[in-house]
Amino acid sequence: MGKFIRLKKGFDINLAGKAALKISNTEQAETFVIKPDDFHGIYMPKVLVKEGDAVKAGSPLFHDKKNEKIVFTAPVSGEVVEVKRGEKRKLLEIKILADKTVESLSFNKYSVSDLANLGREQTIQQLLSSGAWINLVQRPYGIVADPAETPKSIFISAFDSHPLAPDYSFIYKGQEQFFQAGVDVLKKLTTGPVHVNVHSEREISPVFAQVKNAELNKFSGPHPSGCVGVQIHHLDPINKADVVWTINPAGVIQMGKLFLNGILDTTKVIAVAGSEVSEPQYYKTYAGASVKKFLANNVKSEHVRVISGNVLTGTAVGKEGHLGFYDQMITVIPEGDHHEFLGWITPSASKVSFHRAWGLFSFLNRSKEAVVDSNTHGEPRAFVQTGVFEQVVPMDVLPTHLLKAIIAEDYDDMEALGIYEVIEEDLALCEFVDVSKHNVQSIVREGIDLLANA
């Protein structure tokens, strides 16, 4: 029986441009990429293909020199058109021009009953060789899971509480069979339970509600209730030397298809949303898709910021960019590179703010959908501890003290204050609400990297 956990702290940012619940039939994106920077904990990628090679979905593109078992494979079939490198020949991305119909390498196929008897080693082998493995993220550190570890539990957050996030009951509709098979696969990997976490006040898709072989937990409260790190903290906190894995439902379904159908199918339904999208709706595509086709004739103005992911944790990729590996949405907002006369004091009801300080009236009408641009609304200043970080982190973690420990590079304190329990997204709201405009998420990552490489 799962648990019910009520969270109070946090903040929902109500943005304009929610995706309508329909799937567009726009033609498919042409190019797909896989970027090593989407993954943490990769030591040095070794490229296994060259430009001009034909690949199928599931063909290896590169592996990590530190751990060659972890293979990063092609999300679609087609031709490798570019192996893009940056300074010091650092691998930036591998781009594939997709075939009209996507074909996969074939992998072992199992019936539901065969799957039940499949051993752990064989399961891991198939996940690794197909590339489906990289959907598994390991805590602490938020790195690609290490197949040599056995996690104490596996967590699936079955709702996304970020601004404009896709509706999981819509994008995973009809995937019951594959989700269940994926959960069965995951169950083999851990000694403990598989947790599936839903939000108590949202429609719970039968995909999750009827899941067997897993604990179904309910959460309530504002964002970041959907962040899996927050959920882990309340269900089975990560202590020193603990290992926990997380995966999103898209990854679970991909694993289910891998074992039931014997193919690597990276199909995902993504939301294209935000105030600058003319027709915000959903699109069916594959991992790493070019955003170009989704935005053609679909953007209201020229001067926009195209984000792979959501406005709190995403990456600005530009109009020619590609979807990040774990991302399930594209957000388009106005670019905010304009000055504002006396902008620090003029009253405004449209400036979205968690605060209620003089002139910030957005708190009077939280239900109003706001258009927010990328302006920082202020300049970097010294840390002033106003107690506001603590109001948006629903965990028994002291964010200010943790951040200070990271900045001071105090390893013992970082560990004692709970750095193993967080990754960037869990503290993203701190970065949003910060009066002094610090880059909280990159501070968190610096701290994690310090410990991970210690």
Partner: protein, 400 residues
């Protein structure tokens, strides 16, 4: 607007790295961001949108919360002046005399303090932080109306340099800067900041018969020495020239001698309401300071061996600078305890020590200043225990 923007854009490159006035970049940045919120955008990775708040707006909110105290203070300086000299005066006269006396102090505090800030920002190459906007208003409000302007200037320079910049600037100071200024004057020029300085009386001014400039704190301390009832002494104070000036209701309203902005408990409570409603000051600290003072007052009542100890506990909340200190000084986010649990302890101890110092230490009639400075120093220790508790909870869960 357009013209101003264009001018700024035209000269900006002179201040940037490699420009003619590179040294003055942060001074330029302070003025530019004062006129225009910057056009910077969020980075490529991480949050793509930012909250509408910035440090300037936050500080401005605190200043707005102080405005009732300032306006009442200006009125009260004039009011006390005419009370002491026995002249009849209209409301306008009182505001006029008060403004003439108070505004120069405000101007000196801001001018000198911001000057030091700008110089340091250039030497130390850090942005001018907006914290001084609040400090610059707090300093005049805790000064006696008669204070010579040069003393305000010296105290401000001392406080900003020794109290703040020596520790690394805004956000790193250990003790409250405005109180440092006040404490500096208290110990450097003790004769000018005690005794008959709490009403504005220019040299040669004639006072009414029976006039005494003693504050309620002094009256209470005196009656305790004399062995007479404190409340009776307060009630009968001012007989002949200002009947009932130290009655409980007037102590609450604040039309009495004292530092410029801190006499009125009512105005402080209005400020507290603004801080609470806008979420800019910790209500936990404000409430716990009052609670601590009241609890200590009650305790002393129970153990009373002299008239000061017998003074009803609620009198402690309205005399002296307790309310002002609780609302505007103790809540300074930099020097207060930073953990939520710690804030309760921190505030409560400030209230407690204030009353303790008042009642038992004849050398220091007012305790709030020293109590806050003391707890500023101990705030990190309080936090240390709260943070250790958090660490221990985590440690207990672990198996290795």
């Amino acid at each position: 607007m357009k013209f101003l923007r264009n001018t700024l854009d035209k000269v900006k490159h002179d201040f940037e790295k490699g420009g003619k006035y590179e040294k003055f970049y942060y001074a330029f940045e302070a003025l530019e961001t004062f006129a225009f919120a910057p056009n910077t955008t969020a980075g490529n990775k991480g949050v793509q949108i930012r909250d509408g708040i910035d440090l300037k707006r936050l500080m401005m909110t605190v200043i707005i919360a102080m405005v009732p105290c300032l306006i009442f203070g200006i009125f009260n300086v004039g009011h006390q002046h005419f009370l002491a000299t026995g002249q009849a005066a209209t409301m306008m006269d009182k505001f006029w005399v008060g403004a003439l006396q108070v505004l120069p102090i405000v101007i000196v505090s801001y001018g000198v303090g911001l000057g030091v800030e700008f110089v340091f920002s250039m030497i130390r190459r850090h942005p001018v932080n907006e914290g001084y906007l609040v400090t610059g208003m707090l300093i005049p409000l805790v000064m006696p109306p008669d204070i010579p302007l040069w003393q305000v200037a010296v105290a401000t320079i001392f406080a900003v340099i020794i109290g703040k910049e020596a520790f690394g600037g805004t956000g790193m100071n250990v003790v409250n800067i405005a109180l440092t200024a006040r404490a500096f004057l208290y110990f450097a020029y003790p004769t000018q900041i005690s005794g008959e300085v709490w009403a504005f009386l220019p040299e040669g001014a004639k006072t009414v018969a029976g006039y005494s400039g003693a504050t309620p704190l002094a009256v209470a301390a005196q009656s305790s020495t004399d062995g007479t009832n404190v409340v009776a002494a307060l009630d009968s104070f001012g007989a002949g020239w200002a009947e009932g000036i130290y009655s409980f209701s007037n102590l609450f309203l604040g039309a009495m001698p004292g530092s410029i902005g801190e006499t009125s408990t009512l105005m402080c409570l209005i400020g507290a309401f603004i801080l609470w409603a806008t979420g800019t000051g910790s209500w936990k600290i404000i409430v716990s300071v009052f609670a601590g003072a009241w609890a200590m007052g009650l305790l002393l009542n129970g153990l009373a061996v002299n008239p000061y100890m017998e003074m009803p506990a609620h009198y402690h909340l309205v005399i002296g600078g307790l309310a002002f200190g609780a609302v505007f000084m103790a809540t300074d986010p930099v020097t207060a305890a930073q953990t939520e649990t710690g804030k309760w302890v921190y505030g409560f101890l400030i209230g407690l020590f204030t009353v303790l110092i008042r009642v038992f230490n004849p050398a220091y009639p007012e305790g709030i200043m020293l109590a806050i400075l003391l707890m500023n120093v101990f705030a990190p220790l309080i936090d240390y225990f709260v943070v250790s508790a958090n660490k221990n909870r985590r440690l207990k869960r672990a198996t290795v």
